[in-house]
């Protein structure tokens, strides 16, 4: 982190912000400020260079064609890859998660190269879209509470040996591979199919990103009353469907 504070970079809101993706940016920003950090939020449009000096990069979900355009432009730009080499934290969602992998299937039905920052390959599932609430146990090495979120995708993402599953679903589909894995992570790069504002339901993940950036084992506790109430309600709703 630079002396001027925490730099949070939102990658391509013009292409990768389909439904509430701004939520992840707002939650990271808010929780950092509540811990007394100065935060600089940088929204980078796809016709601008991705800065390489950010601390946390958030990459959102997108529709099929914007996803291809985003992948093309991120490959050409190279900034996100260089930021990764500099040790930045990257948290990605849905289409963004697929872009961080080796390749995915684009809107033209062709294999589109990703950035290769996660050892995953995505294809398109043949069945119905995965839509609905998800409940999952996060990789125990991350020591986080249960993951609650909403998925809306048709991707199937195969994990290679270079990543670990981010979580294992109790309810919902996650990676769509049928083996119960959801998302992937390796070092400072995370990907999940929980879309849009997943950090609003899982503020501990936002705190994980901050802890990794600050390289501290814990953060001062905040007033998480409303987050906790929302989590409890969503977990209960997921385990007892109406």
């Amino acid at each position: 982190m630079s002396s001027s504070g925490l730099r949070v970079v939102w990658v391509y809101p013009d292409l990768l912000s389909t439904y509430g993706d701004q939520g992840n940016v707002l939650v990271v920003e808010r929780r950092a400020r509540q811990r007394g950090l100065t935060v600089e939020r940088v929204d980078v449009r796809s016709d601008q260079p991705v800065p390489t000096s950010g601390d946390i990069y958030l990459v959102g979900g997108g529709e099929d064609r914007p996803q291809r355009l985003a992948a093309e432009r991120l490959r050409r730009d190279g900034g996100l890859t260089r930021a990764h080499e500099n040790g930045a934290i990257i948290f990605s969602v849905c289409a963004g998660y697929q872009i961080l992998g080796h390749e995915f299937i684009n809107d033209l039905g062709q294999r589109e190269p990703g950035l290769g920052l996660l050892d995953v390959i995505s294809v398109r599932g043949g069945g119905e879209r995965c839509v609905g609430d998800v409940l999952a146990d996060v990789d125990e090495t991350l020591a986080l509470p249960q993951l609650t979120g909403f998925e809306n995708h048709q991707g199937v993402t195969q994990l290679g040996p270079g990543v670990r599953p981010f979580a294992r679903v109790r309810l919902g589909n996650g990676n769509g591979t049928g083996d119960g894995t959801e998302g992937a992570w390796s070092g400072t790069v995370f990907g999940t199919y929980m879309h849009g504002p997943v950090l609003a339901r899982n503020p501990q993940i936002a705190d994980l990103l901050l802890r990794l950036t600050l390289d501290v084992p814990a953060l001062p506790a905040g007033d998480d009353r409303w987050y906790d109430a929302l989590r409890a309600e969503r977990v209960a709703a997921a385990t007892q469907p109406a």
Binding site: P13, D14, L15, S17, T18, Y19, G20, D21, Q22, G23, L26, V27, R30, R45, S46, D47, E63, D64, R65, P66, L69, V131, G132, D133, F150, N152, H195, G196, P197, A200, R201, W226, Y227, A229, L230, E233
Partner: protein
């Protein structure tokens, strides 16, 4: 039924009767107006019914993400200057509800029909409309609807070869792209505050340049705004053929003036002078409960419906300034979409300074959203509780679809 035009077959008559019976059962069971259910019953026996019921009418179709019901109502008011109108005024806008509404329209001259975005192309094929009004397209219920651009693409395909005059908003790139497949378009610059679904070109995916508040053009393929024949400016439509149109409405806000501008342009295509049309629109004070001010527990509650980010944005711009209290209510039932992610696309910092109460099934989603926005709020279990905590006077109550219906029931609207 339909004595004035092609007589309906015995099968069609039976279908209409069956549909009406289902609607009556639905009404008796207290499930709303019954217009959705009635049509579902009616469609099953005879899929061609819609085409036949509309056969003798001059039909106008209205579609958009936001403002469909209000626009439909305003167009209906305007066209009554020229003859009787049948309309799905209660917002039952899928083929079933449309069929149900039309089954009451045997003596009408005009059919003014709100159509769900997903069904526009199909309904346009079935009823051979004279005019189609297209207002806006933006993200809405993505857990059950197609991607926004896909909707525009379906519109575009559906309008190709249509004989209808399309009255389209020149300020919404997705609408312009959809409408420009039609040979006969009247462009009205009706504005579009929400821009977050149109940063890239609907045609080629290139970046859209927006050098000012009005102009937009694709840097790569050149696709851009069309020259409008009418421009909404404050409470006037400028540069139409003839004199400027003065808009006077009881309905509040910029979005409703946009709606009126489009509705007047539709009326003009039927030979009704815009000033006559706009004068008739002035009589509308509320639309299916929307914008109604209701006395409840000694307060005046204004009922406002907002279902998606673009709708909330327009609604925030029309509410009374602080310290007017605001009640927000959000559900995520089937008709709302079960995903509340869209709350994070709404800029709730715009409500700073208003006392805020949150209610509804998903009030905890609202609570976290407002907490992160740094805006103060109270969580209440019921509308009554939220109202009791407000001083006497005006309260702005903003709700999404089923939350809005709940609120209307509670206040007896």
């Amino acid at each position: 039924m339909a004595e004035s035009a092609q007589p309906l077959s015995a099968r069609a008559r039976l279908a209409v009767t069956a549909g009406k019976a289902a609607a009556a059962v639905s009404r008796a069971a207290g499930r709303g107006s019954g217009s959705g259910i009635g049509g579902r019953g009616a469609l099953k026996p005879d899929p061609d019914l819609l085409a036949r019921l509309a056969g003798h009418l001059d039909v106008v179709l209205v579609s958009a993400t936001n403002g469909k019901t209000t626009t439909t109502r305003l167009i209906a008011e305007a066209l009554r200057a020229g003859g009787e109108v049948v309309s799905n005024a209660l917002g039952a806008n899928m083929p079933a509800g449309i069929t149900s509404a039309l089954s009451d329209g045997s003596d009408a001259r005009y059919g003014v029909l709100e159509v769900d975005e997903k069904y526009l192309a199909g309904v346009a094929r079935d009823v051979s409309p004279k005019a189609i009004a297209l207002l806006n397209l933006s993200r809405d219920q993505l857990d059950r609807a197609a991607e926004t651009r896909m909707l525009a693409e379906r519109w575009r395909e559906g309008l190709q070869g249509s004989k209808a005059t399309v009255i389209a908003n020149a300020d919404d790139p997705l609408v312009v792209w959809a409408a420009s497949s039609s040979p006969n378009v009247v462009w009205v610059a009706a504005g579009q505050e929400w821009k977050d679904d149109a940063w890239s070109c609907p045609s080629c995916g290139g970046g859209l340049d927006r050098p000012d508040d009005v102009t937009w053009r694709c840097a790569e393929c050149g696709f851009g705004r069309r020259a409008p024949t009418g421009v909404l400016s404050g409470d006037k439509v400028l540069d139409p053929p003839g004199a400027p149109w003065q808009i006077r409405l009881q309905l509040p806000g910029r979005a409703n003036r946009a709606t009126a501008a489009i509705a007047a342009a539709v009326a003009a295509t039927f030979g009704i002078p815009p000033q006559v049309a706009l004068e008739r629109m002035q009589a509308v004070a509320a639309v299916a409960g929307r914008y109604d001010v209701v006395g409840y527990q000694g307060r005046d509650i204004r009922l406002l419906l907002a279902k998606n980010p673009a709708g909330w944005l327009e609604t925030f711009s029309l509410i009374d300034p602080p310290p007017t209290p605001v009640i927000l209510s959000v559900n995520a039932r089937g008709a709302d979409g079960t995903d509340t992610s869209w709350l994070w696309d709404v800029d709730y910092t715009r409500l700073a300074g208003h006392p805020i109460a949150v209610i509804g099934d998903r009030r905890l989603d609202l609570a976290v959203r407002l907490e992160v926005a740094g805006v103060g709020f109270r969580v209440c279990d019921t509308l009554q509780e939220a109202v009791q905590q407000s001083p006497p006077g005006r309260i702005e109550a903003i709700a999404n679809y089923t939350a809005f219906q709940d609120m209307r029931r509670t206040v007896g609207n």
